[in-house]
């Protein structure tokens, strides 16, 4: 029996979010829904990264007054994944903005949001 920790729950939630996100991006037909599914996927990846940085019984990686450096380095959660996730949130927002802009442009041309119409394959 594996002991349930908050880290394990984080991994489970991340896996669920990634699976739901990819399934949504593949199977849903509406472009806006696909974009929402992409934000879910990106959230899942963020959660995975943060959960990897977690240390059981650790502290928040902020050096508070009265805390010795050795204790801090032993107990603080990893800072590096937090930096990565901060970048990923920003990149996610900009990707979403670009996707929405492209969808608006294609809606003006085709008058629909259906991916099966907009992104129909062409023989080439």
């Amino acid at each position: 029996m594996i002991e349930v920790t908050i880290q394990l729950l984080g991994f489970i939630a991340a896996a669920l979010l990634i699976v739901i996100g990819i399934a949504g991006m593949v199977f849903l037909d509406n472009m806006i829904k696909k974009i929402i599914a992409f934000t879910l996927l990106s959230d899942g990846v963020n959660l995975l990264l943060v959960a990897i940085g977690y240390i059981e019984g650790g502290v928040v990686p902020i050096l508070l007054p009265g805390m010795s450096i050795t204790e801090f380095t032993m107990r603080a959660a990893l800072v590096f994944p937090i930096g990565i996730v901060l970048t990923n949130i920003v990149i996610g927002v900009s990707t979403t903005a670009i996707l929405v802009a492209l969808v608006i442009m294609l809606y003006r041309r085709y008058g629909t949001l259906k991916a099966s119409v907009i992104l129909k394959g062409e023989r080439r």
Binding site: V26, A115, E122, R123
Partner: protein
């Protein structure tokens, strides 16, 4: 069993598959070259299986040759499968990913 006449029919059907419904266009040369090239490519690729096991390579070689003649003209199918539809690409992508993970984990 395989007489010259049936071979001829097979070949004629093979060539007709290009022409019927498309008409003779300047792209014909490209299609026929592509077809022959792909045939040779996959036969060479099939023979690459000899690095795993030699009998397997011979079996796969024969099967590939048979399949290539059975499914001819292959180039039409490749062209169809080459569609740039997003979901089709995603489908192939996920299949590739699954195969790669399976091979590496099985091999290790």
């Amino acid at each position: 069993m395989t007489s010259i006449a049936t071979m001829y029919d097979k070949l004629k059907k093979y060539l007709d598959n290009f022409i019927i419904g498309r008409g003779y266009t300047n792209i014909m040369t490209g299609y026929i070259t592509g077809e022959l090239q792909f045939l040779i490519f996959i036969i060479i690729l099939a023979s690459l299986f000899r690095i795993f096991s030699f009998p397997l390579a011979i079996i796969i070689l024969v099967l590939t040759g048979a399949a290539a003649i059975y499914f001819a003209p292959t180039i039409i199918n490749i062209e169809k499968e080459n569609s740039n539809e997003l979901n089709r690409v995603l489908y192939w992508f996920l299949i590739y990913f699954a195969i790669i993970i399976a091979i590496t984990i099985w091999g290790g």
